[in-house]
Amino acid sequence: MWKWLHPYAKTERAYQLCSTLQPWFWVGAFVCLSVGTVWGLAFAPQDYQQGDSFRIIYIHVPSAILSMGTYVAMAIAALVGMVWQWRTAYMSMIAMAPIGAVMTFIALFTGAAWGKPMWGAWWVWDARLTSELILLFLYMGVIALYGAFEDKQQAGKAAGVMALVGVVNIPIIHYSVEWWNTLHQGATISKFDNPSIAPEMLWPLLINLLGFAFFIGAVTTVRLRNEIVLREMHRPWVQVLATKQVSKQQSGDAINASVKEGS
């Protein structure tokens, strides 16, 4: 059943797969994000309570959902790496970490910028924001642990263990923080008091969610390729590829330079 996946455990095939997928991801991200953002900002109806400030939802919620999703994806990659001993699995895990951290940062920042007009303060110890902050710490831990090892093979395994520990903890953290929040009566306005959101508000949200997912996929493919090149620097296929790319770039630069000189 998993046989069709096995070729991608080889770095060369994984690199090729990334190269094929990448343009589609970029196009998908660009289209979905522009449609979703323009629709959300200009065409979606106002919220009756929060006015136009609720439009931050169109980036806050997708980034918050996907920051958690990326962490889970990292943990799955780590598990795959551990069970089947795939090096590419660890590489894709570490390729996802920085982009997941950026998503978490976006969720935090937009949450704060949304909280200011709603709660009157940039930072409120609201359950959602607090668990996002802890998630950011978890990402930082994984990235820091990976960076601390010289041997990147070992680093991948170590960071994988930490990602798995974190993923077991995420639900516990989430519920404990939520419970702590109700105990201390922090924020009074919940952003999601009304459980059903109007469909004309929901569509741009879903489109943006898809757009963010495409974006994460696109950046992950770029970074995974980087990881592969970094580890496989001395393989012939990498060298051939690099020579081709660099010479293309240089000829492009040369053309640019000659055009500039001519004008």
């Binding site: 900002l41 980036i59 982009i99 937009t110 090149v229 620097m233 590829l241 660099v246």
Partner: protein, 69 residues
């Protein structure tokens, strides 16, 4: 269109600062990570080529040495 005019759209019902700040920071952050990844890719590829050329030079020098000896 939910807004009467473009200035009203920019004003965002009085929440202009927060809304545009959020969207601005979001897209700048996303652009930064994307650009950083691409620059790293470019540098890595260059590094591979430089390394390769260095190795070729060493090999050549060795061969010349052997030839002269």
């Amino acid at each position: 269109m939910q807004f009467e005019s473009f200035t009203e759209f920019l004003n965002m019902g009085g929440y202009a600062f927060y809304v545009w700040l959020s969207f601005g920071v979001t897209f700048v952050a996303m652009a930064m990570i994307a650009i950083q990844s691409f620059i790293k890719h470019r540098n890595l590829m260059k590094q591979v080529v430089v390394e390769q050329e260095r190795k070729a030079r060493i090999k050549k020098a060795r061969l010349q040495q052997q030839g002269s000896m």
